[in-house]
Amino acid sequence: MAGYNPSGARKVYRPSEARQQNGQTAPQEPNLVPIMNLFVSIIPFLIMMISISQVALIALSFTSDGGGGGTGEGGGGGAQAEIVEIHLMLKELTQAELFPGMEVREPDKTTIHKIPWLSEDVYDFDRLNSLLIDLKEKYTDTAEIAVIVHPDVLYDTLIRTIDLCKDNGFVTVHYRNPKTQYIY
């Protein structure tokens, strides 16, 4: 080693000697085995935890209208804002003006668009999509819409409807129960 002097004589350190590399051992590779062990343990654990196909999410807003829909954010208390309503229905009931399909009511409550289903459980989402595009152009200021769904309508239909609303700019979707129920 640079500082070792076997003769016992007093060693004089000089800058030039300090630079000499004689006697130094060759640089050794760091021992990576413990790190490798750690990695090999952590990586399978993380791979186990990670979800490759994670589900997507859509959020809801709730309106308290006595139908049991809830009292969450955007409820608006008792008086509800005049917004576009989409009614999802499954069964035919002439007395209650119900039919299998969708009914879109504009805020003035007089303009009603009826979209009957194409076949059993196949709703006309193309027409709904076109209508929502037109309604968004007409009511540019509002981002709210209400979806009123009857209990027998499939969950898939509800989610697709909410999705189209959000995709067309109606990002705050209120989830309501119908005031008119089927009579069995």
Binding site: V55, L57, L60, T71, V149, L154, N177
Partner: protein, 177 residues
């Protein structure tokens, strides 16, 4: 290391064999480091609660929303034949029993109340109910869960779906067949 080769009438030749070099694992370590960083970035404890369930048919959506930050998640799994509550998948009953039996609904309400009571008071607004329901279920069952959840105090409710950017196109094609 060396080997000795001998032939009759010839001198022995010692052929030197090169030392076996140690395997360089530096590049492997580089790859593992990259993978580790990637996995740590992606892994999330919340994601565990809302993993895709293999035996459930999810509805598909174009739009998706991120789960709110620091959400206190309570998952509910609504299959065609059973309802499971919470991370521990506590069995509640069948969807039909949930709608018809007040006792079953009370059990669900108590469960949600217990979950809410475990959330610190300053984080109550982060209480979040995630409904994972089968696409072929009638909405009445989902409405029941949402109704009980909101009555207990869940202010944020999410529906789990699968992202599919062109479901409208495929739906159109399927409906024309």
């Amino acid at each position: 290391m060396s080997s000795i080769t001998s032939q009759k009438g010839t001198r022995q030749v010692r052929r030197k064999i090169e030392d076996v070099k140690s395997l360089s694992i530096t590049s492997l370590l580089d790859v593992l480091t990259i993978i580790l960083v990637f996995l740590i970035k992606n892994v999330s404890m919340d994601a565990v609660k809302i993993n895709q369930l293999p035996d459930m048919k999810y509805p598909t959506t174009i739009t998706t929303e991120k789960l709110m930050e620091n959400a206190m998640v309570t998952p509910v799994k609504l299959y065609m034949d059973r309802v499971l509550l919470g991370i521990g998948n506590q069995y509640l009953g069948t969807p039909q029993e949930m709608v018809e039996s007040a006792d079953v609904r009370t059990v669900m309400q108590n469960f949600f109340s217990t979950e809410i009571s475990e959330i610190p008071e300053d984080k109550l607004s982060d209480a979040c109910l995630i409904v994972q329901a089968d696409a072929d279920l009638p909405c009445g069952y989902v409405t029941q869960i949402v109704s009980v959840g909101t009555s207990v105090g869940y202010g944020n409710i999410y529906f789990a779906t699968l992202e599919e950017a062109d479901w409208l196109q495929s739906y159109r094609t399927a409906s024309n067949l």
